[in-house]
Subunit: 369 residues, 2 copies
C-alpha cells in the first residue's frame, strides 16, 4: 500500500530562492551580497531585538497565547486610528505562507470540480504548489506580456467566475514586476468576483497606498495578506497576518494549528508594529535606492519596470534568456546573488532586491555600470 | 456564495487548556499554579536561553534555512550514536501539531471513502479536529474503560484495517492516562497495520523507553512524533519533529509551509538537543515528584493510574462527575489550574501536570491531603 496520496507523490515541491545558511556556518555576517529573496537590507529595529533578548525563560516554558492577542491589538491600532478595525479583524499566522494555505483549506472543497483558485500570471511561484497540495485547480489569467498589466478588473473577475473559482490570489504590488494597481481597480475586482479575493500585500510597505479601505468598507469577500518579512526585516521570524471581515477570520482561525505562532515571534512582531516609525525609515531608504538603481540601469540601456516594491524587474540590453542567465551566473560567481526565473516571459529578465547604497554601488560596479 | 467549505462552517474548533496570557499581562511570573497543560515546571536550560539572547540581528533579517539543517543533524546525532539514523530521517515542524496535520495532508485522499484515520479512545482531542478539517473519517477503537489498556496489537491493527484506515495515531505514553505499551506491542501493531502508523511520543521523555528502534529497523510505515514542549520546557517555542524512513520524510517535506520553522526556534531547539543532559535533570525531578504525588493521592483514597508521563490521571474517592468537576472548580477559585475533561469515561477523573516539590505540596494542601 502506498503511504502517500497520488497528488503528493507526483508533486514538485516549491523551490525557495537560494539561502546560504546562516545557521550552518555560525558566521552571522557572510561575504555574500544577497539580493535574491527581497529581504530588507537594514536590520530589525532595536526595540524588536530588545524584546527578544529580554524575554523571560518563563515565557518559553509556557504555551503561548493561542491567538496572539497582544499582536492583534497592536495591528488593529496601527492600521486604523479611527477604530473601524478591531482585533477580530486580524489573524496572526506563521508567515504569510501559512495564511495562503489556510485560505485554500477553508475555501476550496476537497476534490471540488467548480471550486478552483484564480490568479494572474506570472505570479508568486508558491501559489501553484499550494493548489497542487490541496489539490485544487488553478486558473491563471495572463497579464500583458510587455507591461505586466492585468486585464481590466471586470474582465479578470468574470474570467475567474467563468472558471468556477471560489478563491483568487492577487499580489499587489505585483511580483515579480513591482507594478501597483489602484484602489478603484481592486474595489471593482472585489465587487465583480463571486468568490473570496485575497490581496497579497507582502510588499506593500514600499508602496504609496494599500487596500485596507476595502475591509473598512465592510466587504465580506476581501482578505488582505501582510508579512513582517520584508518591511520589518524579520524574514527569519516567520510572521504574517490577515486583515479581513471577522466572519472570515473566524473561519481561518478554525483551521490554523492550535498554537501556530510562538511567543518569541509574537512579542517581536508586536514590538515591530508598535515601533513602525523605525521600520518606515528603512522603507524610505529602500525607495530612494530603488530610484537610484532604476535610473542607473535605465541610463545603461536596461529596461526596468516601474516598481512599488523592494525589488525591480529588469531586462538587459539585446535581451535573451542566454544573456540574462549568464549575467545571473557571473554575479553568483562573484558572490552576488540575484534572482533568475527560467519561466516563460521572465527568462530574459532578472529580479534584483534593493540593497543599501553601498550594495547598489557594489552591484553596479560588478555589472560595469 | 458562501466563502467557507461546509465542513469548516460546521466545525467546532479545538479548545486548548486554559492559558492565562503571559504576553498580555507582561508579568512573567504569575501567581497562578498552572498544572493543566503539561508544561515542564523547570525552565529551559541556560545554553538554550543564551542562544536566543545572542542571536545576531542579521539572522532575523534573513530567511531561515528552509529545512532546519543544523537541527536535523543534532537530532540524528542525539538519538543515534551508532549512526543508523541520518538527518534524512528527521523533519522539523512548527510544533508537533504541524506534523499531525502534515501526516493527514500527505496520506488521506480528499473525500476518500476508505482512507480514514485510526485512533484509540480516549485520546488527544486535537485528532478529531484535524480529521474534520481535512475532512477524513476517524475510527476510534475504545481502550479498556477501567485500565485504559488498548486492545491486543493484532486486534487493534485489524480493526483499523477493516475500517479502511490509511493512517493511525497512537499516543504512547498514552494521554490522558499515562499508560505505556511495550516495544513488542508497537512492533506488532506496525507489522499488522496496513497503513501508516504514527507513534505520538510527545511525552516520552518521562518514560523508560521509546520506539525509535522501529525506525532503525528500517520500517517504512512508522512515523515517530517528538515535541520540545514538555521535555525541554519549550512549549512557547513551537518545535516538534518527525523520525521516520527517509521516503516518509520526503513526502511530508513537500507539504510543509516553505519556511515552517523560524530561526529563533531552530537555534534554540538545536541547543536544547545538544544539551539534553541538562533537560534530563528536569525529567528525573518530574519522575520523582510523580511518584510522590501518586503515593500521596493513593494513600488518601484517590485512584491514580500508573503514569509514564509528566501528568497523572486520578479519580477522587466516591467518584462522580459532579465531584471531579467541583474539585476542579474549587482549585481554580484558589488560582490552581488542573484539567477537567467533560467527556465519557473521563468526567469523574482529573488530570494533573507534575510540578516542582513546592507546587506538589501546595496542591496537596489545597486538597486537604
Amino acid at each position: 500500500m502506498p503511504y502517500e496520496r497520488d497528488n503528493i507523490a507526483a508533486l514538485a515541491p516549491y523551490v525557495p530562492g537560494e539561502q546560504p545558511s546562516w545557521a550552518d556556518t555560525a558566521h552571522p555576517v557572510r561575504p555574500t551580497l544577497k539580493l535574491n529573496t527581497n529581504e530588507n537590507p537594514y536590520p530589525p529595529a532595536d526595540p524588536v531585538l530588545n524584546t527578544i533578548r529580554e524575554l523571560p525563560a518563563e515565557a518559553l516554558r509556557l504555551y503561548p497565547p493561542p491567538r496572539a492577542d497582544a499582536f492583534r491589538q497592536a495591528a488593529a491600532a496601527v492600521h486604523d486610528p479611527t477604530h473601524s478595525l478591531t482585533p477580530d479583524h486580524i489573524l496572526a499566522t506563521n508567515g504569510g505562507d501559512e495564511l495562503l494555505r489556510l485560505l485554500i483549506t477553508t475555501t476550496c472543497p476537497p476534490a471540488g470540480m467548480r471550486a478552483g483558485i484564480g490568479a494572474t500570471s506570472p505570479t508568486y511561484s508558491l501559489y501553484p504548489v499550494l493548489a497542487a497540495i490541496h489539490p485544487a485547480p488553478l486558473t491563471e489569467i495572463p497579464r500583458d506580456s510587455d507591461t505586466f498589466a492585468p486585464p481590466p478588473a471586470q474582465a479578470l473577475a468574470h474570467a475567474w467566475n467563468d472558471a468556477g473559482c471560489s478563491l483568487a490570489f492577487f499580489v499587489n504590488p505585483h511580483a515579480p514586476s513591482g507594478r501597483l494597481e489602484s484602489l478603484d481597480y481592486l474595489r471593482t475586482l472585489a465587487d465583480q468576483f463571486e468568490g473570496l479575493l485575497v490581496i497579497d500585500e507582502a510588499y506593500v510597505d514600499f508602496a504609496p497606498r494599500h487596500a485596507i479601505p476595502l475591509v473598512q468598507e465592510r466587504r465580506k469577500n476581501v482578505v488582505i495578506l501582510r508579512s513582517l518579512s520584508k518591511g520589518y526585516a524579520l524574514a527569519g521570524l516567520r510572521f504574517g497576518y490577515a486583515i479581513a471581515h471577522p466572519d472570515r477570520i473566524t473561519a481561518l482561525d478554525k483551521a490554523r494549528d492550535s498554537y501556530n505562532t510562538d511567543i518569541l515571534s509574537q512579542v517581536a512582531a508586536t514590538a515591530a508594529l508598535q515601533h513602525r516609525d523605525l521600520a518606515e525609515q528603512s522603507w524610505q531608504a529602500v525607495i530612494s535606492e530603488r530610484t537610484r538603481l532604476t535610473d542607473a540601469l535605465t541610463a545603461a540601456g536596461w529596461r526596468t519596470w516601474p516598481s512599488h516594491s523592494n525589488f525591480i524587474l529588469t531586462q538587459p540590453p539585446q535581451p535573451s534568456p542566454a544573456k540574462a542567465k549568464s549575467i545571473y551566473e557571473d554575479l553568483k560567481a562573484n558572490d552576488i546573488l540575484i534572482r533568475y526565473f527560467n519561466t516563460p516571459g521572465l527568462a530574459d529578465k532578472l529580479r534584483i532586491s534593493i540593497g543599501t547604497p553601498d550594495q547598489t554601488t557594489q552591484l553596479l560596479t560588478a555589472l560595469n555600470i
